[in-house]
Amino acid sequence: MTLTVFWIFGVIAMGSGLLCITRKNPIASALWLVVTLFALAALFVLLDAQFIAVLQVLVYAGAIMVLFLFVIMLLNLGRPGPTDIKGPLGLLGATVLAGALLLLLRPLGEAPLPAGIQLPPGTVATLQQQRGMVGSVATPLFDTYLVPFEIASVLLLAAIVGAVVLAKRKL
């Protein structure tokens, strides 16, 4: 049952992903991407990552994609115009290369994880029930992953400074 639902959302994600890359209007692409992100959020829920799923909707589909759309609008790219999709040669090249990549990545879906490192099934779900949806992610964030967390904060600061510099009207 879960599996079926999982696949349904998976297909939605893949289908809208395909549409995202093939729609000639950037806005359409962006919207299809949002659909993909939502589908992914659903998948996250199915994978016992409810908090991440929420973040996905809030941060990704909400904030980041809005930013994209904003910029697209700002640059007035939504108007009908020549497509930015490459010609038949580009299509062929992209298909061949992507197909090859997929072919090479195929074993990933089949290989089981090494037994030694796997947790017993349901461990994560149990953990989340114990600590709560947020706490189970937040605790390691401020404990084990303190250093990366701080780096991420500096990263965002740097990005802000950078964005400000680039967007400033006058240097």
Binding site: K86, G90, G93, L97, A100, L101, L104, L105, P107
Partner: protein
Amino acid sequence: MTGTTVDLIWLAPALALLGFVLNGTLALARPTAKTLVSTIGAGVLLAAFGVAIAVFSAFTGLHAPTEAPVVFRYWSWIPVGTLQVDFALQVDQLSLVMLLVVTGVGSLIHLFSIGYMKDDPGYARYFAYLNLFVFFMLVLVLGASFPVMFVGWEGVGLCSYLLIGFWFTEEVNANAGRKAFIMNRIGDFGFMVAMFMIFWSTGSLDFDTVFAHAPTALTAGGTAITVITLFLFLGCTGKSAQIPLYTWLPDAMAGPTPVSALIHAATMVTAGVYLVARCNLLFALAPVSSAVVAGVGALTALFAATIALQQWDIKKVLAYSTISQLGYMFLAVGTGAMTAGMFHLVTHACFKALLFLGSGSVIFALHRAYHHTHSHEDAQDMRNMGGLARYMPWTTALMWIATLAIAGIPPFSGFFSKDEILTAAFARGSVEPIWLVFWGLSLVAALLTAFYMTRLMIYTFHGPNRTGEREQTHLHEAPWILTGPLVVLGVLSAAGGLLNVPELYHGGEWLHHWLEPVTQPGAALRPEAPLASGTEWMLVGVAVAVAVIGIVGAWQLLKPERLVPARNAPEERGLARILRNKWYVDEIYDALIVRPLVWFSRVVLWQEIDQRVIDGAAVNGAARGARALGWANRWIQSGQVGTYVAVFVVGVLLILWRAMG
């Protein structure tokens, strides 16, 4: 060290070298000091001649004939491992003969040169070269080992080169000098290879050691000794102008006439004969090589004589005559008649020097006459001469002596030496019939010799004068400084036969006995070929008859009255033309060897292989290729991110494939 005058032998070459150094310095510093130059130039030679005589007399007093040569080692020259070459001089019977000839004839020619060259701007340089030549010639004949001899051997070649090209501003002269040197070098190549083989066969290069070891170290008649001697003989053909390397000698007449007399007639060109005589033991061990030597000698004698028949340049006639006579000498030494060869060498030195100097005297006279009238006729062309006997009686008389000598008319010197050679060849023919062919060839050559020499005399001194109306008044006998040496040489040419009067005429065969210590080891290895005295007389008769036929025939056949001056002379036809053009040998060499080689070097080796293939295709091609790859990259590095991404993904695919495959 013997404690006698023989010890002073080093003085002879040293004096000549001193002359060179002094005159060379003068040539660069004060070329006008002609008196000083002549004093030094001729003085050192006379002194050297004096040393030679002193050494000779001391040596005769010192030694019983069978004793070993006296070797003086001055310093260790090339000492490396077993190769120990000392700078050493060797005094023995053979080298003494050569010493006397070189210094004696040399002195006369130096004296002659004082007069002959007196107006030349390069006077000091000339004497410097001449002195240097004598130095090297003495090293050649006195050297006690192959390398030391080789010093002289190449040194005389150098001087020959310098003197042939003495008037270097004419391209012909410079070419002739170069040709001489290169041709000689071909021979020297043979000499060197022979030296290498001798060293590794006998362990030494000193004459005494080599000759002592050779009979045991080398199998008689074996390949090694045959190859060695053939290579040695290759050296001789270069230096002594034998087939196939003779072509430089006629061209060498471009040098001043005294040079032709000294170097290209009397001394240097006989070095090959001397070498074979010196190595007679080695040649005795190699019968095949000896036959080759004799055969080449006989063939050259005839071949050069035919060309001499139709030359107009007086010096060219003499040059071919020299080649021909050298052929006789090689026939002699190839036959094993070392004494005969050396004997002819000595007599030839006298009469050929006389002939050259005589012709020099004629040229001098003509040149002076033309100089007076400012005309540019060829002073060496016999068609411009004729009837000179009237103006130059001394010269004419002396030239006739020499002509008779070379033609082999008794009792002049040439008769004895040439007859000895012919006899020896005939005698050897009784053992090995091939020698009868050689004998036949040389007999025909003798006939031709008499003919062309008489032709030369008739056209030059007899008949009407063709020099020119105005010039006739300026024709004179040469001054005493020129004729003086001629007289001395005339005496020697006439009486030189006394040196080795055969037993046939109850002579003492002095030279034969004198050289015996040197020639004996080789002679002992050769087959005996005795001749009955009747046969000998018959041979003498044939030889004399041939000479007389040649002279009389020429006198009868040639019509000097019909001859026209060179300027108006018609082209010859038929055989005459071929002979006039020396059988086209130079042209053939040029077409077959020189031009193809130069073309090959320039076009194939340099332009194609070096420049196009190696440098162009390989070296610069690699550079260009690398650069082209760099440039080609611009097609990909086009600024298009799409391309970059595609290449990137290809890279990803490859890495994934390698990692997971």
